[in-house]
C-alpha cells in the first residue's frame, strides 16, 4: 500500500476542534463563549476558523469575567440553549467556582430543570507553565454532586466524549490535557461516533496487575506497561475517561482478574481520584486483592515551575515501574 493511502492521523487537539465544529453544525442551540475564541482562534487555537464559519452570534468573545460568563452560560442553558464555555486555562475555572457548584450543580436537584452545558479548559502539567497554568482541577469538581467530570486520555476519546458532553443534559466539566494536545494522535473512525459518559476503557490488556488512571497519565501508564512487559510483568491499563461518574464495574473486573492495583494520577495525592478508586476497590474488591493498593500521584504541593521541580512533581514512567516492582513482590 502506498503511503498516499495511509489514513490520516488526528491529534488530540484536532479531535477536540472536530467535535466542537461538528456539534455546532449539527445543533443550532450549541454556541460557544470564551476569551479570545473569535478572531484569535483561542489561546491554543482550538477554535481557529470557527468565527468565519459560525459567526459572532455562536462564537461569542468574552471579556475577562469567568464568573460572569459561566453564570451566563447557566442562564442560557436554562432557556434551552447548549452553551460551551472555554476557560482559557482550567486553572481559571476557580473564578467561576460559585456559579458551578452552587447554581449549576444543584439546579436539577432543586427544580428538575436541565442545565445542558459544557465547561472545557486545558488542564495538567508538563509544559513548565507553573502553578497557575498546570493544575489538575478534576478532583475539585468530582466531589460536587450534580456535575459530571470528563478527562480524556486519547484523541479518540477526546472527540467522542466531548460530543457526548455537548449532548448531555447536565453541567459537565471537560478537562483536556494540554500536554497531549499535539503529542498524541491516532486514526479516528471516519463515521460519526459518540463515547459513553461513565464508561472506562481497558487501553491495554494484562494479567498480573492493573493500573487505574486517566488523562495524560494514560500515556505514562502505557509506556510503563510496555517496559514492564520486557521484564515479564503483564500490566493492564484501565483508563477511567470519566472521573465522575466512575465506572466501578470495569475497574473491579480488572482487579478481579489481576488481583493487584496501582492508582496513577497527576493530581495531588490526598483525596484525589485515585484515593476514591482505592476506596472502591478496598470496599468492593477486597477479596480479590493479593497486595496493597498503591497510589502513584503528584505530592501534596502546588505545581512547581522549574523543570527539575516539575519532573519531580509529575509521576514519571520510572515512578510507575518502581510501584510495579513493589507490587509484583506480593
Amino acid at each position: 500500500m502506498s503511503t498516499a493511502n495511509k489514513p490520516k492521523e488526528t491529534s488530540y487537539i484536532e479531535a477536540i476542534s472536530q467535535a466542537l465544529w461538528e456539534e455546532l453544525e449539527r445543533d443550532p442551540s450549541v454556541f460557544m463563549l470564551g476569551q479570545d475564541i473569535g478572531d484569535y482562534g483561542g489561546a491554543f487555537k482550538v477554535t481557529e476558523g470557527f468565527l468565519d464559519k459560525f459567526g459572532p452570534e455562536r462564537i461569542i468573545e468574552m471579556p475577562i469575567a469567568e464568573q460572569g460568563f459561566i453564570g451566563m452560560a447557566i442562564g442560557a442553558a436554562l432557556m434551552g440553549m447548549r452553551p460551551i464555555v472555554e476557560v482559557q486555562y482550567a486553572d481559571f475555572i476557580s473564578c467561576g467556582w460559585d456559579q458551578i457548584v452552587n447554581v449549576a450543580a444543584k439546579m436539577h436537584y432543586r427544580t428538575r430543570d436541565a442545565v445542558p452545558m459544557v465547561i472545557r479548559g486545558p488542564s495538567g502539567g508538563g509544559l513548565r507553565a507553573g502553578p497557575f497554568h498546570s493544575q489538575s482541577p478534576e478532583g475539585w469538581f468530582a466531589h460536587v454532586p450534580g456535575l459530571k467530570v470528563i478527562v480524556p486520555g486519547t484523541a479518540h476519546d477526546a472527540k467522542g466524549l466531548l460530543k457526548a458532553a455537548i449532548r448531555d443534559d447536565n453541567p459537565i466539566l471537560y478537562f483536556e490535557h494540554k500536554y497531549l494536545y499535539r503529542r498524541v494522535k491516532e486514526v479516528l473512525p471516519e463515521e460519526e461516533y459518540v463515547c459513553h459518559i461513565g464508561a472506562a476503557k481497558v487501553q491495554r490488556e494484562g494479567s498480573d496487575l492493573t493500573i487505574v488512571t486517566y488523562g495524560a497519565m494514560v500515556q505514562t501508564a502505557l509506556l510503563a506497561a510496555e517496559k514492564a512487559q520486557s521484564s515479564g510483568v503483564s500490566v493492564e491499563v484501565v483508563d477511567l475517561r470519566t472521573v465522575f461518574p466512575i465506572d466501578k464495574e470495569t475497574v473491579l473486573n480488572s482487579v478481579a482478574k489481576t488481583s493487584k492495583a496501582i492508582m496513577l494520577y497527576e493530581d495531588t495525592r490526598t483525596l484525589g481520584i485515585g484515593a476514591e478508586v482505592s476506596a472502591i476497590i478496598a470496599e468492593e474488591g477486597f477479596e480479590h486483592l493479593d497486595g496493597p493498593i498503591i497510589r502513584v500521584s503528584a505530592p501534596d504541593a502546588p505545581v512547581p515551575f522549574s523543570p527539575p521541580l516539575e519532573d519531580y512533581f509529575i509521576p514519571q514512567v520510572e515512578d510507575v515501574l518502581a510501584a510495579i516492582d513493589r507490587l509484583s513482590a506480593y
Partner: protein, 325 residues
C-alpha cells in the same frame, strides 16, 4: 429611545393591590409560625418592600424571566406563585415546588418564568443575563429581570453582569432593592456612593432611582426599562429606595436599626400609601379594604392548612434528581 410608559388601568391597580396584600398576609403568617417554633426553616421577610416587589414584577410579560432573591417571595406572586406553594416550600413538603430539596423561600418555576434563587447573591445576575443572551440569540422579544439588594452590589458578579449586558446589548432590567441594610451593615460601610444607580454610568447604561415605597412609580419606571429592553434598547439599572422593616432573617431582632428609623419608614408604608391613592382614585373604600383583608386572610389560612396536612418526602428521595437522566 424613550418609550412612553403605559399608565396602569383600574384592573392593573387592583391586581397589584391584591398581590401586595397577599404578600404581606403570607409573611405575617410565616412570622407567627416561625415565632411559634412551627417552622424548621429560616424566614427572610420583605416587609416594607411590597411596592417594588410587586411593581417591578408586574411590569413583566408572561414570557419574561424574573430572578428574585430569597427575600423576594412577594415579587413572585404576580407571576403566579400561590400561597400554597409558599407554605409547602417553607414546610419542606413533598408536594412543594422544590419537593423539600430547596430551602424555604428558594422556590421557582421555569414555566412561569421564575428562577429559583440560591443563597449566594447576586448569583442570578449573571444567570439572568445569560437568559437574556438566549433571547437575543434566538431573536425573541423577551426580557430578564434579576433582583438583588444593595449589599450584593459590592460583589464582582454584579459588575460583571452589568458590563456583559452592556457590551452585548442584552434585554436585562437589573433591579436593586436598596433596603437600608445588608444583614446588619448599612450602605455607608459598603460604598462611597449615595445611589447604587450611579454604578450604571461605569457601564454606559441608564441608572434610575425610584421611590421604592411608591408602587406606581416602581411600576412605571420598571415598565419603561422593560419595554426599552424588549425593543432592543439594552439594559437598565433600577434602584428602589426602601426599607427592610424586619431583621435579616427571623432570628434577627435587628437592634442595630434605630426605632426612629423604623417609625419614619412606617409612615411611608407602601400598602398604606397605595390604599390612599386607590381611595383618592375612587377604586377602593373601607369595605374594599375589609373585603381584601378577609380574602387574603382566608387564602393564607387555607394554604397553611394545606401545607400542614401535606406529607413530607420519603427519606430516600434525598438521592433522586441529582442528575437529569
Amino acid at each position: 429611545m424613550d418609550v412612553k410608559p403605559i399608565e396602569p388601568g383600574a384592573k392593573e391597580l387592583q391586581d397589584m393591590y391584591y398581590y401586595m396584600r397577599l404578600g404581606r398576609a403570607i409573611e405575617e403568617r410565616l412570622e407567627l409560625e416561625y415565632k411559634g417554633g412551627k417552622l424548621t426553616s429560616a424566614i427572610y421577610l420583605g416587609r416594607g418592600q411590597e411596592a417594588i416587589e410587586v411593581g417591578a414584577s408586574y411590569a413583566l410579560e408572561p414570557g419574561d424571566i424574573l430572578a428574585p432573591t430569597h427575600r423576594d417571595m412577594i415579587s413572585q406572586l404576580p407571576r403566579g406563585l400561590t400561597a400554597r406553594e409558599v407554605f409547602t416550600n417553607h414546610y419542606a413538603r413533598a408536594n412543594s415546588l422544590t419537593r423539600g430539596k430547596g430551602e424555604a423561600s428558594y422556590q421557582g418555576d421555569l414555566k412561569r418564568g421564575l428562577f429559583a434563587t440560591v443563597s449566594m447573591l447576586p448569583d442570578f445576575y449573571p444567570v439572568a443575563t445569560g437568559a437574556a443572551l438566549a433571547f437575543k440569540l434566538r431573536g425573541e422579544k423577551r426580557v430578564a429581570m434579576p433582583l438583588c439588594g444593595e449589599g450584593a452590589t459590592s460583589r464582582g458578579d454584579f459588575h460583571e453582569s452589568l458590563n456583559l449586558a452592556s457590551v452585548l446589548d442584552l434585554p436585562v432590567v437589573f433591579v436593586v432593592i436598596n433596603n437600608g441594610f445588608a444583614y446588619s451593615t448599612p450602605p455607608f460601610k459598603e460604598m462611597k456612593l449615595s445611589d447604587v444607580a450611579e454604578r450604571a454610568h461605569a457601564y454606559a447604561i441608564p441608572g434610575v432611582v425610584v421611590d421604592g415605597n411608591n408602587i406606581i412609580e416602581c411600576y412605571l419606571e420598571a415598565k419603561k426599562a422593560v419595554e426599552r429592553a424588549r425593543d432592543g434598547g439594552g439594559p437598565t439599572l433600577l434602584e428602589a429606595k426602601t426599607m427592610r422593616m424586619r431583621g435579616h432573617a427571623g432570628h434577627d431582632a435587628a437592634k442595630y436599626i434605630s426605632k426612629e428609623l423604623i417609625r419614619e419608614w412606617a409612615q411611608k408604608d407602601p400598602i398604606d400609601r397605595f390604599e390612599k391613592h386607590l381611595t383618592n382614585q375612587g377604586l377602593l373604600d373601607e369595605t374594599g379594604i375589609k373585603d381584601m383583608t378577609e380574602r387574603v386572610t382566608q387564602e393564607v389560612a387555607e394554604a397553611l392548612k394545606f401545607a400542614e396536612e401535606s406529607p413530607y418526602p420519603e427519606g430516600q428521595e434525598a438521592i433522586t434528581d441529582v442528575y437529569r437522566q
